[in-house]
Symmetry: C2
Subunit: 175 residues, 2 copies
DNA sequence: GGAGACATGTAAAGGGTTACATGATTTG
DNA sequence: CAAATCATGTAACCCTTTACATGTCTCC
């Protein structure tokens, strides 16, 4: 449902065709959402079939014609319905952690430390990228901010854990 | 892969049968991972077929016999392989946010505020539950801690956003 | 003339969920 | 004796990803 909401949300702001949507998502929104081609095309086709979006073809030369989508009144209604539903769900928070963390302590600290450091710099560079795009995406500022809060928390956790790795208790009681 | 890692990780610590595993996950680990029955049984069967875990039947009365799994040397190897792979991936952080946040501002603050408050108390009660179980799960302390960091970040974000909703800029520039 | 962007898709395979199915045992 | 728990599973359906497929246009 998340993906449908996001696609509708984009189309709703301005008419778009599939390639354009995919391009936009991959270039600007990959930090917050991830949609691959087959999924996008299927969802768009489904929504077009259901009358949530309407489609017009724009031909240029001999290329495959663009399928330009616009949101319909029905689509707008469904968009708001899904949005409300999603807001009302109060989903705890999906695991932001690869579960592998649970078993970190079975490896010796020497092996984990480089991974943690790399993870750290990876998070840092994501944060940098995020700060760069944040201002240009006013409409989406809230999600980027939200992500930013969580990235900062991730950094904090990494630092905290690295420090813990130096304590003598590390790995105790763990098979 | 996450689910396989977690199942193996549990079996690795002590032999278990399917029902027991599902019960354990639903009662103690639902904050950090989510596995349903068909998925668990399928994964267990697959791993048994592949020789990652071995199976012995324990019969008691006329009930369906328990399928008790133990990890095999091969399973241990695969477990460590997957674990290393997962650690090396440096996955950014999966979206911890329902994408609906992106479109929060299309609704008037009066409608959203109650949702945000409910979300807040939901997060708070998850944190409470988490603090309660944390100490008893020494082996899994790291994941719970990780989750805790992110839950605190979520709370911070909620408070920050609620405050922002009162500013005159709220909803500006948003279609 | 070749690389890369433009523009659409599909096929196969795997993962996941919901709901259905079965029956024994324990507990109130 | 009814309800919950123990214990297994399957069927149908949906969603997602990886890889394949096709051809045009633009820019260097």
């Amino acid at each position: 449902m998340e993906k449908q909401i996001f696609l509708l949300g984009l189309i709703r702001q301005s008419d778009m065709h599939g390639y354009q949507i995919l391009d936009l998502i991959n270039s600007h929104f990959n930090i917050i959402i991830n949609i691959t081609k087959p999924t996008a095309y299927r969802l768009l086709n489904n929504m077009a079939e259901d009358g949530w979006i309407s489609l017009r073809e724009e031909k240029e030369g001999k290329r495959p014609p663009r399928h330009v989508y616009s949101i319909t009144p029905k689509g707008e209604k469904e968009f708001q319905r899904m949005l409300r539903e999603s807001l009302a769900e109060y989903k705890p928070i999906e695991r932001p952690n690869p579960i592998s963390i649970a078993f970190l302590q079975i490896f010796p600290p020497e092996e984990i430390l480089p991974h943690m450091l790399k993870r750290k710099s990876s998070v840092e560079s994501i944060i940098e990228g995020l700060i760069g795009t944040k201002d240009h995406q006013k409409n989406y500022q809230l999600v980027f901010e939200h992500q930013h809060f969580h990235l900062k928390a991730e950094l904090k956790w990494i630092n905290y854990t690295i420090e813990k790795m130096n304590s003598p208790d590390w790995g105790k009681d763990v098979k």
